[in-house]
């Protein structure tokens, strides 16, 4: 450690000649000059190492002790650096490098989002961008405290937001709101209506009066169980509760052309390169004209990354243009039908709450268009509580 410090500060090796070199050493220590690596030679001279800055004082003390001092060697970092004083380009490059290192370290080069599950990372980054925090922003300009509040206003689903800046890396930590499902209190009078059209399979009114019977066909929104219970004396409003199961039919349709353009690659391809530096694009090609009349453009992005996970703000973009020719041809009938079936089944699963039974597909080709029709039957709950509009009730009551 001491050696490293000595090397960094720089030292000189001097040769001391005189009648009483020991006296000179004592004068030096008293004068506050410390030295090391003292060697006595056979000719009576001595070599000592002293700190570079103490040479003038040493010379002065040597003249007092009737000794002469001669510099034998200069060593250490300052003297090493002095060797480069005439290498202007080197010094300029060094300064530019140091300045670049300083300036670039003041910016944010990576933003990571932690803690989000339903709000997409892209949305958070876009909101941050809107508030002036993005790749390349000066970290000094970011007011993390107010940013937290502004982000909560920007994205309603967040309950907490914090941006932690570690050097060039910012990590946005978020907590999402847990939105409670809307619950209608048991005190509020409600009607039960049909959520979907279908035929009633079973109806059990736990509270309220049933308005339909098993086997009735109901349409969406139709009143199933009324919250107004007519007793012999008066009309009482209750929170209707019922278990209503109905047979629901689904008819879904999807279309697809029979003929389509079929793409065939000719095997010709060309690549163009560009650099993206903190969102600014630098093209590494001169000719920006379109290469082929019909081609696919495939963009590959390569980020410069160190093994430790440090990401440089430089991205190499490779654009590959692949030429193709289009020919008109008929699609394979079997494949088209399979594609349409898959689409329809996915849509059915979205709409139907339970396992559907009796799924049927019909295919039909008219005017070059293949139409697939799906019919399915589901037995599912269709009860949906709806608040009874009190004001309206009073109005009708008054009439």
């Amino acid at each position: 450690m001491l050696r490293a410090v000595t090397y960094l500060r720089g030292f000189i090796v001097v040769k001391v000649a005189g009648r009483y070199p020991e006296r000179f050493l004592n004068i030096c220590t008293r004068g506050g000059v410390s030295f090391w690596a003292l060697k006595k030679h056979e000719d009576g001279t001595m070599t000592v190492s002293v700190r570079a800055g103490e040479l003038p004082l040493l010379k002065e003390l040597a003249s007092n002790a009737l000794c002469t001092v001669e510099v034998v060697r200069r060593a250490g970092a300052p003297f090493f650096a002095l060797r480069f004083r005439r290498r202007y380009i080197f010094i300029a490059c060094f300064l530019i490098f140091a300045a670049a290192l300083y300036l670039l370290s003041q910016h944010i080069w990576e933003i990571e989002v932690i803690g989000n599950s339903s709000v997409s990372e892209e949305r958070i980054l876009k909101a941050l961008e809107k508030l002036g925090v993005g790749i390349g922003t000066l970290s000094e300009d970011i007011d993390t405290e107010s940013l937290g509040d502004l982000m909560l206003l920007e994205i309603d689903e967040l309950s907490w937001f914090a941006l932690n800046i570690h050097g060039c890396r910012a990590s946005a930590e978020v907590r999402e709101k847990v939105i409670p499902p809307k619950v209608i209190s048991n005190d509020v009078p409600v009607n039960i209506v049909a959520a979907k059209s279908g035929m009633i399979e079973k109806i059990t009114a736990l509270e309220g009066s049933a308005q339909v019977a098993v086997g009735d066909v109901v349409t969406e929104g139709q009143l199933l169980v009324s919250g107004l219970v007519d007793t012999a004396i008066s009309v009482r409003m209750v929170h209707a509760q019922a278990d209503v199961t109905a047979r629901v039919w689904y008819v879904l349709e999807a279309k697809m052309p029979v003929e389509a353009w079929i793409k065939e690659y000719t095997g010709e391809e060309k690549s163009k390169f560009a650099l993206s530096f903190a969102g600014n694009r630098i093209n590494l090609y001169g000719d920006s004209s379109i290469i082929y009349e019909k081609c696919d453009k495939i963009i590959d992005r390569y980020r410069l990354e160190l093994p430790g996970g440090f990401i440089f703000p430089v991205t190499l973009i490779k654009e590959t243009y692949r030429e193709y020719e289009q020919t008109e041809g008929e699609l394979d009938g079997y494949t088209s039908e399979e594609i349409l079936k898959e689409i329809l089944l996915a849509r059915l699963a979205e709409q139907c709450g339970t396992e559907p039974s009796d799924i049927r597909f019909d295919f039909d080709v008219t005017d070059g268009v293949l139409t697939a029709r799906l019919t399915a039957e589901c037995i599912e709950q269709i009860a949906r509580p709806v608040e009874i509009p009190i004001t309206g009730l009073h109005g009708t009551g008054g009439n």
Binding site: P21, E22, C28, T29, W36, A37, K40
Partner: protein
């Protein structure tokens, strides 16, 4: 000089009576040898003679003579001297 020395001696004797560290209270020299090759002398008052086979160091009350071969002063400050070499022995010359 003599008066100062006698005062110094009285102080040193007092540290002996009260069992106190003499190098701290009275400023007498303190010698430390590590492995027969490294020697450190604290509270010195200068070099009197310097050679590869012998080094004379002045201290408050006596001259410390170190004998050996390939002796070298590693470092020297106002309070401390470090010596390295094959140390055969040392004696106080009054």
């Amino acid at each position: 000089m003599k008066k100062r020395n006698s005062g110094q001696n009285a102080l040193f004797r007092a540290t002996e009576i009260f069992d106190l560290p003499g190098d701290i209270i009275a400023g007498v020299s303190r010698v430390e040898i590590v492995g027969g090759r490294d020697m450190r002398i604290e509270n010195h008052s200068g070099i009197l003679e310097y050679g590869e086979s012998a080094i004379d160091i002045n201290t408050e009350n006596a001259v410390l003579r170190i004998r050996g071969s390939s002796l070298e002063i590693i470092s020297m400050t106002t309070t401390e001297i470090s010596i390295r070499g094959n140390i055969f022995g040392f004696e106080y010359v009054y």
